[in-house]
């Protein structure tokens, strides 16, 4: 066999980000249930949100994320279970006496007040002495880059500016926790992406615990320290964005976080940390066993993200590869989406490939080979 160039998928030791911060709990949610008659909007949810953390509640509409946020804010009360903020139980404490402030989805800017009066709204009650109120308003406006717009009427602002006013109005209260209810959903794509970066930067600058509710997985992945993925009133997984994306606990989470190829697998061996499974397309694979893995007979599901499959060009080979035929090609500008039929697999694989090597020119019907890293194959419960 002639010597062929080998592509070894990069396996470098990457420096690990230092995420060690004093992990003190800021919000403790213990077995919280919220029922409306027979319907449980939130079902026995338990969660700890750490001090100084950017935490996201992610899920489709109706999953209970907003209900949970509103209960932390004090606009709703648990049917059972308890919530504490900063070590203080919140039961019986109304919204106006909680150490939390909220950025509303509709922003809820007071339309009869100007920007400054909106931001100073909560401070008025504190009766601050000697220009302190003015100083804090200025500071908050500067934090959200609205300096100089203090005299504008709320009705004269753009959506992005209103959002900033809502942020400043909450931050000026120096809450222990800032709650954000889908704050970016009303903005157009470009502004939304810009605000994601700004929000993240702001959170790191002020060091306040942020709790964000969103249904946009990219938003959650881009901004959060940790994410709780919720479905049907239950918390499915709590982990860092990377872990949620790469090691989803079940198909539902995997699906919600973006494209995923699912492959049927037979369990050959199972121990406390790992699984060995047999698949038709990928052969025998050893993977980490997810914490929440519950064995259901001999079957399991193996998943691989479309971007973890790389097209092998010409004579290049890889240690791990599968061969198949391109059946569909979809062009997306910077990437191309290929649907590749692999003999033996019940469903063709989705592959996203960057266009720098001409993936957008591969004709439908071409036989190609795909390289993968077995570590990208993740076992999960169905």
């Amino acid at each position: 066999m002639p010597e062929q160039p080998q592509i070894d998928l990069p396996k470098v030791e990457r420096p690990q980000e230092d995420r060690s911060r004093p992990e003190r709990a800021m919000i403790e949610i213990r077995n919280v249930t919220r029922s409306y008659g027979a319907f449980k909007a939130l079902d026995d949810a338990s969660l700890t949100i750490r001090e100084g953390e950017f935490f996201s509640l992610l899920g489709p509409s109706g999953c209970g994320k907003t209900t949970l946020l509103r209960m932390i804010a004090g606009f709703d009360n648990p049917t059972s279970g308890s919530i504490s903020v900063g070590g203080q139980p919140m039961e019986g404490i109304p919204a106006n006496r909680r150490p939390t402030n909220m950025v509303f989805q509709s922003y809820a800017i007071f339309p009869h007040l100007n920007v400054e009066q909106n931001v100073a709204y909560g401070l008025k009650r504190l009766k601050l002495q000697g220009g302190e109120e003015k100083r804090r308003v200025e500071e908050a406006l500067a934090q959200v880059s609205l300096t100089g717009l203090g005299k504008r009427l709320a009705t004269e602002l753009s959506g992005g500016q209103r959002q900033r006013v809502a942020l400043a109005r909450a931050l000026v209260m120096r809450p222990k926790v800032l709650l954000l209810d889908e704050p970016l959903s009303a903005l157009d794509k470009k502004l939304r992406e810009q605000m994601q970066v700004e929000l993240r930067r702001l959170q790191q600058a002020v060091g306040i615990t942020f709790v964000l509710v969103t249904h946009d997985q990219y938003e959650a992945l881009a901004m959060s320290d940790r994410i709780a993925v919720m479905f049907g009133g239950k918390i499915a997984q709590v982990a860092s964005p990377k872990e949620i994306y790469q090691r989803p606990v079940n198909r539902q989470v995997a699906d919600f976080l973006g494209g995923m190829n699912f492959v049927k697998a037979e369990i050959v061996e199972e121990n406390s940390a790992s699984l060995v499974v047999d698949t038709l397309g990928f052969g025998r694979v050893k993977t980490d066993k997810p914490k929440a893995f519950v064995r259901n007979g001999g079957a399991a599901t193996l998943g691989i993200r479309p971007e973890r499959l790389r097209v092998l060009w010409d004579n290049a080979t890889a240690k791990f590869e599968v061969a198949g035929k391109v059946v569909e090609r979809h062009y997306f500008g910077e990437i191309t989406h290929l649907i590749v039929d692999i003999p033996g697999l019940e469903k063709p694989l989705s592959v996203t490939e960057t266009n720098d090597f001409g993936a957008d020119d591969i004709p439908v019907g071409t036989s190609i080979r795909l390289a993968y890293d077995p570590e990208a194959l993740v076992a999960m419960a169905d």
């Binding site: 804010a73 004090g74 606009f75 109304p94 919204a95 106006n96 006496r97 939390t100 402030n101 909220m102 509303f104 989805q105 509709s106 922003y107 809820a108 800017i109 007071f110 339309p111 009869h112 709204y121 909560g122 009650r125 504190l126 709320a154 009705t155 602002l157 753009s158 959506g159 992005g160 209103r162 109005r169 909450a170 209260m173 009303a186 903005l187 157009d188 502004l191």
Partner: protein, 274 residues
């Protein structure tokens, strides 16, 4: 041929619209025209211009009494119906409960009930209750007919009131009363003032209920009715009628402007999208 085609294609619509407006407003135009005519009988051709009939008005004590009575009744009825209207409109726009639509319908019903029947029924009730007829009973009657108008104005002002504004206020530390004072009230104030003006205007012009429920004290419409028996007094009545017309028109215009402002405020328009 062309005329027929033009007719079928709707070319007659502007003419129709013009006649429509003439039909609506021609009678009203006669009032001011004859009120500045020198002749005592309203008849064409006009005989000459005079403001004499207007000058006479303040020199009639019975008229001044009636105007004062109307003012008292109008202000009281406006305040009472607006207060009741606020409570009802708030409940209907803010809460969802069984029977909400029915209740709304029942509150609005006096708008279409025959006024004579309402007036007679009220008279019977007042007498059964042993109330002697006075301006007070007129006020009660007027509240009944004013509430539907008050409700219409107020619900349009309250509707779309973003509930998260009140939540935002609470979230920023404000108490329930403070929230009402600093957020709710300033936002709905234009609608409330608008309701007061509308109710006052309705009460000022109302005749049938006042006619049945008043004792010896006449309101302006009743005074006018009384004067119509004397042919010589007719120009004075026309002058007074013109003044009432102008006053009503002005008050209603202001009320409508305020109502629109309130509706615009609560709807938080243009804010959701950048």
């Amino acid at each position: 041929m062309t005329a027929v085609r033009r007719f079928l294609s709707g070319g007659w619509l502007p003419a129709y619209a013009f006649l429509y407006v003439v039909f609506l407003y021609l009678p009203v135009i006669f009032l001011p025209i004859f009120s500045i005519n020198t002749a005592a009988t309203p008849k064409f051709p006009l005989s000459g211009f005079t403001l004499h009939w207007y000058e006479d008005l303040p020199r009639t004590p019975a008229l001044l009494d009636a105007a004062w009575n109307s003012l008292i009744v109008g202000v009281s009825a406006a305040i009472l119906s607006t207060v009741l209207g606020i409570l009802a409109a708030r409940s209907i726009t803010r809460y969802r409960y069984p029977g909400r639509r029915t209740i709304n319908g029942l509150i609005m019903a006096p708008l279409v009930l025959p006024e004579v029947i309402v007036a007679i029924s009220m008279l019977l009730v007042m007498l059964q209750l042993g109330l002697s007829l006075s301006l007070f009973t007129v006020v009660l009657g007027h509240v009944l007919v004013c509430i539907p108008y008050s409700m219409t104005v107020l619900t349009s002002g309250f509707e779309g009131f973003d509930r998260s504004l009140e939540e935002a206020s609470a979230d920023l530390g404000e108490s329930a009363f403070g929230t009402f004072r600093r957020v709710t009230l300033p936002m709905v104030a234009p609608a409330i003032i608008s309701s007061l003006l509308v109710c006052f205007t309705i009460s000022l012009d109302e005749f049938i209920i006042a006619f049945f429920l008043t004792g010896t004290e006449a309101t302006l419409p009743i005074y006018i009715w009384g004067q119509l028996r004397f042919a010589a007094k007719l120009p004075g009545v026309l002058a007074l009628g013109t003044l009432l017309l102008v006053a009503s028109f002005l008050l209603m215009t202001i009320a409508e402007i305020l109502r629109r402002r309130a509706a615009r405020r609560t709807q938080n328009e243009g804010g959701l999208y950048a």
